[in-house]
Symmetry: C2
Subunit: 420 residues, 2 copies
């Protein structure tokens, strides 16, 4: 067969800009029709590939593909599903190759985090063994910003911008009312193991004393006494205290604070977030009136306040994946390389999947201030450029964003159902 198809799949938690990557892949593939067949997409990620549910993106209108650039969520569906080692899950790997063969797939693009890079890497190795070599390319995506080698991960910058803008706005609200009402406000953000997202809240602080006054990181076990003293000081000096807390905040025994006692009406643990637990600490020790917010999925779907830098990078890694494919590469991932801090400049580079797979990038300790409650100048230098620029979705006449929902027609199956 001459032209091979691309099979693209989204993996893990979605981001406000993962569809911008899909847009980059599909638009670039369409510009190279003479060398590339169709772009197929796994319905609900790799689960759809295993089940031979492959979406034919060639059925989508050009304008709808273009609209992916400003549409949040995962347009083809995503899943949390990690393939085990080849030894443990050989049948699954063989099935993938079988599906690739049946649908003339020459290029497998897996758009996800560290787990996905690992999967793409393994698939790249087993193709040869099974007599159907396929070019496997990982494409980075994660709001957690925890992939190694790449300077940052597409998806993170927009969440960072959402958090910085939100804590800035909510703090202005609290500041207005603090003399007679709420004195402590707590915003809970994502980040179970690393404080990248919480750190981004610190970008709202432009001058010393500005909110947020306290950031609670998963990297820093909560020192209750120091925390409460700092809250009290902020309230006494500034009139109020604005706090960003990471969902992964732990106590000194290493237990998640969100796990240590919140019970719902039925006695179930772990319903609450960490924000109400922190609020409880403040209330019981200091007595201040508090409010708290849990942004949860809002933060990772808020395409309406995406960072332009992030959208551009998400699109660029999609474009690069196709270029890598055309250049005959496999077992690689396009990454973001920062070539200059000031002015901020970046380009797309290349990393080996074997180097990216299953390695987590921690937030450097030097990004956290000495007292553990804020970010440093080094953190600002790194984080600052990632939230720059605005990239609004178009809105319709009803005042709502024009997000696209694709037709998502699957191609006819050619294989017997998969049973593992």
């Amino acid at each position: 067969m001459s032209k091979k198809n691309i099979l693209y799949a989204q993996s893990g938690g979605v981001t406000p800009v993962i569809n911008a990557t899909a847009c980059g892949v599909i638009e670039t593939a369409r510009q190279n029709r003479q060398r590339i067949g169709k772009v197929l997409a796994g319905k609900d990620g790799i689960i759809g590939i295993l089940n031979e549910q492959l979406i034919d993106t060639s059925k989508e209108r050009k304008a709808d593909i273009a609209a992916l650039r400003h549409t949040p969520g995962g347009a083809f569906g995503s899943c949390r599903y990690k393939l085990k080692s080849i030894e443990e899950s050989r049948a699954e790997y063989e099935r993938l190759i079988e599906v690739f063969r049946a649908h003339n797939v020459g290029y497998f693009f897996y758009n996800g985090g560290g787990d996905s890079a690992d999967t793409a890497y393994k698939v790249s190795r087993i193709g040869d063994t099974l007599g159907f070599p396929v070019q496997c390319i990982g494409i980075p995506k994660t709001i957690d910003n925890d992939l190694p080698i790449t300077d940052n991960c597409p998806g993170f910058g927009s969440v960072a911008k959402y958090v910085a803008v939100s804590i800035m706005e909510a703090s202005m609200d609290v500041a207005s009312m603090a003399s007679s009402s709420t004195k402590v406000f707590i915003l809970e953000v994502m980040g179970r193991h690393a404080g990248w997202i919480a750190a981004a809240g610190g970008l709202a602080q432009r001058e010393k004393g500005d909110p947020p006054h306290i950031i609670l990181f998963p990297e820093v076990p909560l020192d209750e006494k120091a925390f409460l003293a700092k809250v009290d000081r902020a309230v006494k000096n500034r009139g109020y205290c604005s706090i960003v807390v990471s969902e992964g905040l732990k106590d000194k025994q290493g237990r998640f604070l969100a796990d240590t006692g919140t019970r719902d009406a039925f006695g179930h643990a772990q319903l609450g977030g960490v924000a109400p637990v922190v609020a409880g600490l403040v209330k019981s020790h200091l007595g201040y009136k508090y409010h708290w917010a849990v942004s949860d999925y809002l933060q990772r779907s808020a395409r309406h306040v995406a960072a332009k830098t992030d959208v551009e990078q998400a699109y660029a890694v999609g474009v690069a994946a196709v270029q890598f494919a055309l250049a005959g590469k496999s077992g690689v991932m396009p990454i973001i390389e920062r070539t200059s801090d000031q002015p901020y400049r970046w380009r797309v580079g290349e990393a080996k999947l074997s180097a990216v797979a299953n390695r987590e990038k921690k937030m450097p300790r030097k990004f956290i201030s000495a007292d553990g409650f804020g970010i440093t100048a080094a953190a600002r230098r790194y984080l600052g450029p990632l939230i720059r620029g605005e990239d609004y979705p178009p809105y319709d006449r009803h005042g709502l964003p024009k997000y696209v929902i694709l037709k998502n027609q699957t191609v006819a199956t050619k294989l017997p159902p998969f049973s593992n």
Copy 2:
């Protein structure tokens, strides 16, 4: 004395656009320098007036006053403080008049909800009695949308837009992942007594079956069985269920659900919001994986996604207050009159404060669907125009909104301290 000063004060919970009203007042007063003195502003609302803490807005640069139009929070501070009846709090009313007299205040503008209209009304009556007549004008503001006579309240439209956009975005996220992950998402929004804000979430639903699939109103006591059946149906038919719940949701005994059992690590009630309680119901009866968000202050400070209609109306009622003052009016409030649904047209009208004071506008039952879990076409007709149009704040080169913080210099005091 010839030209009298305006004394403007913000009251109660702030909104994303209350400063647009302040902007309308100050810019219009400055255009009428030949007839109006300064615009003074109560620091932290009426508490600042009682304490003779009056901000001199003439010290602010023109560009900073203009920036109020796109700045959330309450630029001069606000407070929750309700004056009692004249009989009970005569000293306070007398103090207000004393402050007015000392600072040559001929016009008192009180920007708030029903309580503030009541206060402005009472002050308008006592001025004559105490020999210092002052023109009192209420200016509507409340995200609760519960003022009578006016078609809607400045502040509500932007919160409505935030909620509609947010539930649309989060639902796209959930839809992408539902096959292998979260199946039920719950967004808690404000509205303790009326479901206006929750109803706005329904605007995200463009076609039957679109999210949000369920809205839980404070007006409709929770029918657990019907609710759970509807959640289950949505998950079975659509793959997931997206829910907007009002913080004021009650059970059949009339108790707030948020009150009925949530306990923090210290055994304190009422830390949790209602969203985790509803999540607990879903989990314990249906077993679905859930996520929940509590938008809290984010929703009422999110100027970054304000509705253009709302910003324009907030500004217009500020302009109208000055025009009313110049026309010699007192005891009145500018209101929004809807002159046409389609196309939506509005103008500023006038209502008597006596008619507005202490009367709450409930959401009509005909806005809630027969099953109690959604909104009707009538609700869409009313709500739709209020979220229309975008009005972005300018952003700086760091990627953050350019919100202004005023100098807020107070004028020299002339009176002995107030002790009540």
